[in-house]
Symmetry: C2
Subunit: 481 residues, 2 copies
C-alpha cells in the first residue's frame, strides 16, 4: 500500500487510530483460529459511520482488501487478512444507543461486547438469548457477521433470529438502513438476514437493532452421566419427542470431561462415557415440572446418575464448567482445533460414533462436546502445528468428519462460519450451483471483491490452507490439499 | 407467445395441464388484490420439479415472463401477470412428504394448503404458528413467497421464522437446495431467508422444510371494549412492558365492529370505539395467570368491559369473528382495499389517529383492524372502483398513510408484500440505494428479468397503477400518479 493511500486513511481516522508498524500489524494478522495468519498493510480504528464510509471509498477506489473485525474471536479464519490490505476495527463503535422497553428492542454499535449487552438488558428484566462461547470478549458486530450461536439455540435460536435492523456501509461508501423495529416488515428482499452470517464479505455493519424477550424468571440445571454415548443421545431425542424444549442440552464426552475436571475441579466423575447438562428456564413452576420429567427420562434412557442443581450457584458452576471446555482443552497440547460439524439432532448419536471412528482411523486425539439439542457438535482436536505429519492426518480426519455430517443430512458449519477453514468444503453443502449463486450475490454488493476476500469462497480447489507470515510481511503458504 | 413455444410447454406438462383459451386465461389474470388485472399468454400446471425446471428453461431461452402462484390470495397484486407470459401454478405439488417428530420439521410441496399443514401437524401435537387470514385457501408456496404473517406474529413470528430449508428452481432450470433440517447452519449466505418474501421474483420454490413447535396444551381468549382508542393502544403497550407476550392481540375499531356484527351476529356492542381480542396459549396454569393479569391491565387502562371466554368454543367464535373481518367488510361496497401499514408497536395509537385523520381529510370510508401486538394495521377502504374520482382520493389517502407509517418508524407493508400495489412506495422505506442493491440481488438470480416482472420494483416513477385487460388480451393502463 503506497504512502499516498496511507496518508488518506490516516487523515480520515486521525493520528493514533491508524497503525502500520510491523508490531502493530502483527497483532491483527491472526484471529482465534489456529494455523491461519497473514499480515495486513494497515489497521484503521474508525469512530463513526462517516469515517467507515470514507475508508471504504478509498479501499474501493484503489481496490484494497478490507477485513472488518471486532475482538477477533473468529474460529474459521474469517478475520485473518489473507490478501493483506486494511483491517478495519469496529471496536470504537461500542455505544449502547437505546433499550426500547415498549418495542422490546436494543440498538447498539457493532463494537459492543456480547456479555455487556446481556448485562444491560437483563438489568431491565429483558433477555438477548444468543450466548456464543466467546461472549465475554466477542463483539456484537462479530456475532452478526458470523450468525453466532451458543448454548441456548435449541429453544431460542441464533443471532439471525434476533437481528431486526441494521445500518451498514456498502463498498461504495453508501450507507444503507435495512429492517427496523417493526415486528412485521416485508418491504423488499430481506437484506437484514442476508447480512447476518455474511462474514464481512458484503458490507460493514455500523449499527444493530436486536429483538429482546422478557427475561425468564426462573431456571434450573440438571446433569446426567452415562456409560453409553447412545443412551445420552437417545435421552436428547426422547425429551424433544415428549415435546419438552429445554433452554440448553449440552453434551460432553469422557475425553472432554477428564480435561474439564482437571481444569475446573468441580468433581465430575471420570469413569463415565458421557454427560449431559440440561437447563430449563421459564416460570418457577414450569421449570420444576420440566426438570422433574427430564430427570425421569434420563433415568429411563439409561443414565447412571442424575443430579439436579440445588441452588442457582450450583447450576451456574455446572454451566461454567461446560463453558470452560475450550479453555480446558487448549491447555493440553500446543494447538487446539475446534470444529463445528452439525447434523439434524436425531442423527446426533450416529455423528458422535462417526467422529470416534474417524479419530481412531487417523490416530488423532479428538474430544467431542457441544450443543446436543441443536445437533451442533464441536469435535476438538488436540495437536501440535509444528508436527506437519500429524496436522496432515488431522486435516484428513476433519475432511472425513465433514463428509459424514453431510451424509447424515448435516452441514459443514453450525455456528463458526465458513471463513477460510471451510471454504474448500462449502460445495459439499450447497453444490456448485449454490456457490455460483452466492458469488453472484456477493458481486451484487461488492463488484470489485474488496470485502474480506478469500473468505467463504475457495480461491481454487485447495483445501485447508496454512498461511504463515513473519513479522516483516512476506508470506509463504503451505497447501495441504 | 408463438405456437412453437406453446407446443414446447404443452409437451412438458402434458395435455390437460396447459391452458390457453381466453376463458381459462381470464381465470388467472387477477388475484385477491382489487384494481389489478392482466391476461397471461398461457397457464401451466406442472406436477414435478423436473417439469418446472423444463418450463423455466423455455421461459429463460425465449425471455418469457413467469408468474408462479398458488391460490392467488395475494393482496399486493403480486400474482397478476402484468407483462403477460406464463402463469405457473404450483398447486399440484401439494404433497406432505414428511412430519419429522424427532427433528420437529415438516417437509411438503408449495401447493400444500396452509390450514391442511396446521391440521396435519396439530394431529401429532405439533404446531406451525403462522396463520395468515387466507389460511384456509392460501398455499404454503404463496406464504413463503410473501412471508405471510397472521394473528400469532407477536409471540411466534412470521413465515420466515419457520422456514428452514427450500428446494427451488432458478430461471436457468438449475435446481438448488438451501438450508435443511439443521437447527444451526451458517454454510454460506442465507439464501433460504432471502427467498422467503421474495415474491416469486428470484426462483420457483418446489419443496419447503418448516420448523415445528410443540402444540401449546391450553389457550384462552379475552375481549376488552373501549370508549377511547388510545386506551386500547395503551393496554397493548402495558401488557408488553409488564413482560407478558400473548399469542395474539387483535384490534378492531368501531366501524369494523359494526360490519362484523352485521355479518357474524355474535353480540358485539356497537356503541364502543374499539375492542381488543387477546389470546394466550401455553400450559393451563400459565394461561390462566396471564389472562387474569391481562384482564386487570385492560381494566386499569380504561376498558369499559372485559370478558374472558368461558369455553374453548366461545374463544374460537371470537377469533372467528376477527377472522371474518375482511369478508364482512367486503360485503359493504363493491371494492374493498385492504392495506397493511405497520409501525413499531409503541406507535400504534399514533398510527390509528393518523389513519382516522387522513380518512376524514380525503372523505373516504376506512375501517381499521389488525394485529395490534405487531403494530400491523389493516386500514381497509370501502369504495367502488367504477368511481374513478373516489378511487383517486382513496389512493391519495393511502399514499399519505404510507408516509405517516414511515414517519413513525414503520414500513409500507407488514405482511402483504410489495407486489405492484406498493412498488412505487418502496423507496420510502429502503431508499434509492436500497432499491439499487435489491435490483442487483435480483439480477444475481434472474439476469434476464423473467421472474415475475413488474413486482417489487416500480417500472418508473408511477405510483398506483390500475391495469385492466379485456378477455382478448389487449391492455390499457390508467396511471394515477
Amino acid at each position: 500500500m503506497d504512502k499516498e493511500i496511507k496518508g488518506q486513511l490516516r487523515a480520515i481516522v486521525g493520528d493514533g487510530w491508524f497503525l502500520d508498524t510491523p508490531n502493530e500489524l502483527y497483532a491483527y494478522s491472526y484471529d482465534a483460529t489456529p494455523l491461519y495468519q497473514s499480515m495486513p498493510d494497515a489497521v484503521v480504528m474508525p469512530s463513526s459511520v462517516e469515517e467507515i464510509a470514507a475508508i471504504l471509498k478509498v479501499a474501493n477506489e484503489y481496490r484494497i482488501p478490507i477485513t472488518s473485525r471486532g475482538s477477533g474471536t473468529n474460529l474459521s479464519g474469517g478475520t485473518v487478512p489473507v490478501d493483506g490490505g486494511i483491517v478495519l476495527l469496529t471496536t470504537r463503535l461500542n455505544q449502547l444507543r437505546e433499550i426500547d422497553q415498549e418495542n422490546l428492542t436494543a440498538t447498539f454499535g457493532p463494537g459492543m461486547i456480547t456479555a455487556d449487552l446481556h448485562k444491560a438488558v437483563e438489568s431491565m428484566g429483558l433477555f438477548y438469548p444468543p450466548d456464543p462461547g466467546s461472549m465475554r470478549i466477542s463483539t456484537m458486530g462479530g456475532n452478526v457477521a458470523e450468525c453466532a450461536g451458543g448454548m441456548r439455540g435449541l429453544k431460542y435460536g441464533v443471532t439471525k433470529d434476533y437481528i431486526m435492523g441494521l445500518k451498514a456501509v456498502l463498498p461504495t461508501g453508501e450507507v444503507i438502513r435495512v429492517g427496523g423495529k417493526n415486528a412485521k416488515d416485508v418491504a423488499g428482499y430481506d437484506v437484514t438476514k442476508l447480512l447476518v452470517g455474511s462474514e464481512g464479505t458484503l458490507a460493514v455493519v455500523t449499527e444493530i437493532t436486536a429483538k429482546l424477550l422478557p427475561l425468564p424468571p426462573a431456571k434450573q440445571t440438571l446433569v446426567a452421566y452415562y456409560n453409553d454415548l447412545t443412551d445420552a443421545a437417545r435421552t436428547v431425542q426422547r425429551v424433544i419427542t415428549e415435546k419438552i424444549i429445554p433452554a440448553t442440552m449440552e453434551f460432553l464426552d469422557q475425553a472432554t470431561m477428564i480435561v474439564v475436571e482437571d481444569f475446573a475441579k468441580i468433581g465430575l466423575p471420570l469413569d463415565v462415557q458421557a454427560m449431559l447438562i440440561i437447563e430449563q428456564d421459564g416460570t418457577q413452576l414450569q421449570v420444576e415440572q420440566d426438570i422433574e420429567r427430564i430427570a425421569e427420562i434420563c433415568r429411563a434412557e439409561g443414565a447412571i446418575d442424575v443430579r439436579t442443581a440445588q441452588t442457582a450457584e450450583e447450576g451456574a458452576s455446572l454451566m461454567a464448567a461446560r463453558r470452560a471446555a475450550l479453555s480446558a482443552l487448549a491447555r493440553v497440547k500446543p494447538t487446539t482445533i475446534l470444529e463445528d460439524a452439525t447434523v439434524p439432532r436425531a442423527r446426533l448419536a450416529e455423528m458422535v460414533e462417526q467422529v470416534n471412528r474417524i479419530a481412531k482411523k487417523y490416530s488423532v486425539h479428538i474430544c467431542t462436546f457441544g450443543h446436543a439439542g441443536d445437533g451442533n457438535l464441536h469435535p476438538t482436536c488436540l495437536t501440535d502445528e509444528r508436527d506437519q505429519e500429524e496436522i496432515h492426518r488431522v486435516e484428513q480426519a476433519f475432511e472425513e468428519i465433514f463428509h459424514s455430517a453431510i451424509a447424515l443430512g448435516g452441514t459443514i458449519t453450525g455456528e463458526h462460519g465458513v471463513g477460510m477453514a471451510k471454504a474448500g468444503f462449502l460445495e459439499l453443502k450447497v453444490g456448485a450451483s449454490g456457490i455460483e449463486l452466492m458469488k453472484r450475490i456477493k458481486e451484487a454488493f461488492d463488484p470489485h471483491g474488496i470485502m474480506n476476500p478469500g473468505k467463504i469462497f475457495a480461491k481454487s480447489d485447495r483445501r485447508r490452507v496454512v498461511v504463515k507470515t513473519n513479522a516483516c510481511g512476506c508470506q509463504h503458504e503451505h497447501n495441504h490439499a
